[in-house]
């Protein structure tokens, strides 16, 4: 049936074509047009995974007496060789015939192979590539949410450990220079001074300024003064070395923490842009970590999101002891923790409702709707602040009463 025993395969979005080395068509396989299915196939071919159609087509060529097939994809050729016997599959990019095919595609092959107009071909390829891209974008986002959950948990771990290390450092170095304890509350500053200056005798104003310029002249001279008059025990280099390495450990952990938060912010832009815009990247990441994955978060009702992280209080309330929690980890949202006590529950409920929508948008549609959600949320915050400006009157009965009827009295303006 075939004259030539060497053929060149050309992969196209709508089919597979086999050509002789003069560019004439030997055989072709035109896919039934189903954009979704083709998009899946192309995503496989792209990473070198053979599809059933491709394997079937090459087997057909082998049966017809073709001995060598060229494919313009190295990985694909290798994987095909493992599956298909009795025919040699070679990779070359580009092949001479492939180039010719692409060069004359618009003028010649398009009509010959598919019998459709360029506009129709472009429409179909556009449709397929859009689905392909959306699939890939989704996959890129899906896996990373688990990384984000781990990263945010690492941030929390680091905070815990660095607080431990810092308090040990203060206690240990405090034997040598007890006055420094009260001169800087900031652990970062403390560790930097210990690491860079070491012995108390090094605490001159100029050296302090050099080690930590952000302290400012005034504080630097106060620390220098305190060092000169310190009542602490003297220390030798050998003892000091251990303390300094602890200080170094603290500083390193802070750097890692900074990198991690940057990483989380970047990854959140990718994975959950709506949640990030609405709640901030760190809080958003915490919610994903608590839910278990972005998908799980998206499947949660707003009421669950509202109390994520307050499970202990929630289940205590469900067992009938105590009142249900107003907020879980979303308490970290500034508008909630800065609000007066009686407004927090209302704001938390509003935020949770918007977050539930944002999570669904991030997982399912990929549309960026956060600016609208945020605007609606901010409007509700303003409303809560004006309507509930004053604390509610204390309830007379110990037992929580049934929901009061009618609207609460309007009290415009702030107190």
């Amino acid at each position: 049936m075939y004259v030539s025993s060497t053929v060149y395969l050309v992969l196209d979005a709508l089919g597979i074509i086999a050509l002789r080395d003069d560019g004439s068509v030997v055989d072709k396989l035109v896919y039934d047009y189903d954009a979704q299915r083709i998009a899946n196939m192309l995503n496989n071919i792209e990473v070198g995974k053979p599809t059933d159609e491709l394997v079937g087509f090459i087997n057909r060529l082998a049966k017809a007496g073709v001995s060598t097939v060229y494919v313009e994809h190295k990985e694909l050729a290798r994987n095909l060789t493992n599956i298909i016997k009795g025919i040699e599959i070679k990779a070359e990019l580009p092949t001479k015939v492939g180039r010719l095919f692409r060069e004359e595609f618009w003028s010649k092959y398009l009509k010959e192979i598919y019998g459709i107009e360029p506009i129709e071909y472009i429409k179909r390829v556009n449709e397929v590539s859009v689905i392909q891209t959306r699939l890939k974008l989704k996959q890129a986002a899906e896996r990373r949410d688990l990384f984000i959950a781990q990263a945010i948990n690492s941030v929390d771990d680091l905070d815990k450990v660095s607080n431990l290390v810092a308090s040990r450092l203060r206690e240990w170095y405090g034997i040598h220079f007890p006055e420094l304890e009260n001169l800087t509350r900031n652990n970062n500053e403390y560790a930097a001074l210990v690491y860079k200056l070491g012995d108390r005798s090094n605490y001159t104003k100029s050296k302090i300024m050099e080690a930590l310029p952000e302290l400012g002249e005034e504080r630097a001279s106060r620390i220098a003064e305190a060092a000169a008059k310190s009542v602490g025990a003297s220390i030798v280099e050998w003892d000091l070395q251990q303390i300094r390495s602890l200080a170094k450990l603290y500083l390193d952990m802070q750097t890692i923490r900074e990198n991690l938060t940057e990483y989380i912010d970047d990854a959140m832009k990718d994975v959950a842009p709506n949640i990030r815009e609405l709640a901030g990247s760190l809080l958003g990441a915490r919610l994903i970590a608590l839910a278990g994955s972005l998908m799980k978060l998206a499947l949660m009702p707003a009421s669950t999101i509202q109390v994520l992280g307050a499970e202990k209080a929630l289940f205590r309330a469900l067992r009938g002891r105590g009142r249900p929690p107003k907020h879980g980890v979303i308490f970290q949202y500034p508008d909630i923790f800065r609000a007066p006590r009686w407004q927090r529950g209302k704001i938390a409920r509003a935020l949770a409702a918007k977050l539930a929508i944002a999570a669904k948008a991030d997982v399912f549609t990929g549309n960026f709707i956060a600016p609208r959600l945020k605007e609606e949320f901010m409007r509700r915050v303003q409303e809560v602040k004006t309507i509930y400006a004053k604390p509610p009157p204390r309830k007379p009965a110990a037992k929580p009463a049934a929901k009061p009827h009618g609207k609460p009295e309007r009290k415009p303006g702030k107190k």
């Binding site: 192309l42 990473v47 492939g98 060069e103 618009w106 472009i122 891209t133 890129a140 970047d266 832009k269």
Partner: protein
């Protein structure tokens, strides 16, 4: 955005599909004819003149726009052109190229970063630009999009990567038709910060020449972009 009224529009002296909009105060701005009337891509001004809608082309946001402002001599992209665009990013320049090539043209838009490509999908695809084929892939491996891309008249590259001249040439070997053009945006800073811009430009241009292209035009993009140049090449 200016509130000055647009009074007239003229087609660019040399390039079809590129326009100068004249404003009441005597200033002129670059523009293209909007393929999707009523829709903006990156907050650009829309101007209606004689029943046609134009999108103002901001040279500070688009390097091709900057090159045209700086008197680019050869512009291989015109109506009906098929373009392979590497480094499509969020689609600012792609949108104007899409206006220029029109519905008989086609742009294969390749971008590697999912983050910016999500924006691209919103800016370009959701707006209904049917002459754009989005491809989320790594331009260093042209075989990844072998099923989608056919012969192109122009291969354009604007990626912040070292060896971009090599990446462009590799892609041109597979997809560029005979007599096709390449356009290379060189970002000296992202290729090698330790070298002087002119040195980097030269190295990238040498790579292009070694791969069989003649340089037919080179435009520096100051003041719109510092240490950037746009190079047009051709291979027969």
């Amino acid at each position: 955005m200016s509130s000055v009224r647009a009074v007239d529009v003229k087609e660019h002296e040399k390039f079809k599909g590129v326009y100068w909009i004249e404003f009441e105060d005597g200033s002129t701005r670059l523009a293209t004819r909007n393929l999707t009337p009523g829709k903006r891509v990156y907050g650009e001004q829309l101007i209606n003149l004689g029943g046609v809608e134009y999108r103002v082309w901001n040279p500070y946001r688009s390097k091709l726009g900057a090159a045209i402002m700086n008197k680019l001599e050869v512009m291989p992209i015109g109506e009906g052109s098929k373009v392979l665009y590497l480094g499509a990013a969020s689609g600012t320049t792609v949108s104007h190229v899409s206006d220029i090539v029109g519905l008989s043209g086609l742009i294969y838009s390749v971008e590697f970063s999912p983050r910016v490509f999500r924006e691209f999908m919103q800016n370009i695809i959701d707006q209904g630009r049917l002459n754009v084929i989005p491809i989320l892939a790594d331009a260093r491996y042209p075989e990844q999009y072998i099923s989608l891309v056919k012969g192109v008249d122009v291969a354009y590259i604007d990626v912040a990567q070292p060896f971009q001249a090599k990446i462009l040439a590799d892609n041109a070997d597979v997809y560029l038709v005979k007599g096709g053009y390449i356009i290379l945006v060189i970002k000296a800073m992202s290729i090698d910060v330790t070298k002087e811009p002119s040195e980097t430009f030269k190295r990238e241009i040498d790579t292009i020449k070694e791969r069989g292209f003649d340089i037919i035009n080179m435009i520096h993009l100051e003041p719109y972009d510092v240490a950037h140049a746009l190079v047009v090449g051709k291979r027969d």
